[in-house]
Subunit: 350 residues, 2 copies
């Protein structure tokens, strides 16, 4: 397992060190790194010519490439991958930095504002685009439902979950109902469902609709229908907050207007981003997609660094940042990780 230089498929210790220095340098100033520069930077006393030999090896293995034949080397996706998996030394965050971050997530009662703030926090500290997925499923349990009749036979259904989230939906009904009728229906539903998981509630509601249709009275039937609507709304909040999109405009590797338009369109559309985040929900800790690894052409020259967050030992969502492949991983990774921890803590103390 030790190594002299020139192993065929194995990357020698020295070559790895060179790759590390190269990437760190490239991350710093975005220019292709030449042999002269690198020979000064490694610490080892080696001439540019030697460095060139090593670089040629690295290139052969697909870890670096040169934009043109006579230009320095640039890391490839694969190079970044090796760097991230085994070369990179994450810097611990300064105590006061963590404190500053914690302060930004403090005292924000509502879960959804908390999540919004988290995405702003992410984009602020990393200078990239921050994204936080809304808690997936598990919106907690049914707590209370209420109906208020509006004009024109429409009814406002309000659902409160055990997490303190409030969902509402306006439902068109075929006739208008008396407040007393609605109140009674609500009481009935509350008695049946309070404390139960939203998922279960929805299943039950759907089942009720089918099986006991003929036994229910008009009002109750309508009530079940309305409840179904608002529960679906509560569960289906498949959404995410994205902040700091404009940070991406600062990077000249993304500076073409067409490129930016693609990205921004994806940000407003959100569904692709959500899919991608969804794939990270199972990961243990920080997960990284470099460049084309994501499989989305859209993010070809971007990387995604994510971490799951939860509330009680249970993962309920994913957050992360999107930026150019050339991002400061050693700094971004602990920042994303810490944000996930802080958000988890903040949600727990609710």
């Amino acid at each position: 397992m030790t190594s002299t230089a020139g192993g065929d498929n194995q990357v020698s210790e020295r070559a790895q060190h060179f790759l590390k220095v190269l990437i760190e340098r490239y991350i710093r100033d975005g220019q292709p790194v030449g042999s002269r520069t690198l020979s000064k930077e490694t610490g080892l006393e080696l001439s540019p010519a030697t460095v060139r030999n090593v670089m040629a090896d690295l290139e052969e293995m697909g870890l670096v490439s040169s934009p043109h034949i006579s230009s320095g080397r640039v890391p490839t996706d694969l190079g970044y991958r090796l760097f991230i998996d085994s070369l990179l030394t994450v810097k611990r965050l300064a105590e006061q930095e963590v404190a500053a971050m914690r302060r930004q997530l403090n005292d924000l009662g509502d879960a959804s504002t908390l999540i919004e703030r988290a995405s702003q926090l992410l984009s602020g500290v990393t200078r990239l685009a921050g994204v936080v997925m809304m808690p997936r499923h598990e919106h907690g349990a049914f707590r209370q439902i209420e109906f208020l009749s509006l004009s024109g036979g429409r009814v406002l259904a309000i659902l409160v979950t055990s997490e303190g989230e409030v969902h509402n939906r306006v439902v068109n009904t075929d006739r208008s109902y008396l407040p007393a009728e609605l109140e009674q229906a609500a009481n009935c539903l509350n008695a049946m469902f309070t404390g139960q998981d939203l998922h279960a509630v929805r299943r039950r509601l759907v089942a009720d609709m089918k099986t006991t249709r003929e036994h229910m009275d008009r009002v109750m039937l309508q009530a079940v229908e309305m409840a179904q609507g608002v529960v679906e709304a509560a569960e289906g909040t498949d959404d995410c907050f994205i902040a700091g999109q404009t940070n991406l405009m600062e990077f000249n590797e993304l500076a073409s207007v067409e490129r930016l338009k693609q990205l921004f369109d994806a940000f407003t559309e959100k569904s692709q981003i959500l899919h991608l985040l969804d794939r990270c929900i199972a990961a243990e800790g920080v997960q990284i997609f470099v460049g084309e690894e994501s499989g989305y052409q859209l993010l070809d020259d971007c990387s995604l660094v994510t971490a799951p967050y939860g509330s009680d030992d249970q993962v309920i969502g994913v957050l992360g940042v999107i930026g150019p492949t050339r991002m400061n991983y050693p700094r971004v990774i602990p920042l994303v990780d810490m944000t996930a921890r802080l958000l988890t803590a903040a949600l727990k103390q609710q």
Copy 2:
């Protein structure tokens, strides 16, 4: 009032016609318009040389300018202003077009989704950025308030307005309250305020806090405080929806990345946009700011076309589009106008 050519300060009929044709042409293809082109376009049988004379007059009056000494003419802000005020012929919208628009605003119970859709509609039909201000003040009247105790002494306050809007806020309290206490307090507040204007309610709450502090029991005091919180939240929803921002990336007059960043930052910040919209709320119908007229440096090369919308004869908000000064006014103006009418109608039938 009739005119031969060359009036000193007065713009001759013919010059106005030329200006009109020039602007229409410029709007179409974005290139400075030369004398040769224009002489073919006017319909009149005039040589380029004659056209040049007229152009010189227009330039003297500040209605057009040439980017370089040997390039065609481009309208100035002032030129656009004259065009808009007295030259432009708005095209009536096709019946089916209106129908298609109406369809997009149909059947969307909730007021705030309706408004979101309106901004999407605007951006879709104009291919510019659409913006709709949330209804200003006048969120309707107090309808019902409710308190639910959460863990850790926090209370969830829910307010429903007569418009069917639901606002909620989590409030930290000093001790935990029994459901019965909270219910009683809510009943009390409901009895006092139901049907009253939110403004009045807030004033009353603030007054109560001050004057009768010592006569109120603990629970009631806390309830008033919480109510105040949620009413403020309801009134203070000073927000707007912006859609189709990425449309602006299509215009090469805005295509520099720095320029776009400024704009997009303003869109996420929103406060400047809101101020600007706010100034249009008093206007009768469609209002237009061309270029620097807005007074916001940010929008120097952009125009803003707005129209107020209302619910019952009463203006409650403003909507509009933002795009480059070179936008298709004859088409955009009726589109904005129509969207305002449709939104007004859709809100009324709620």
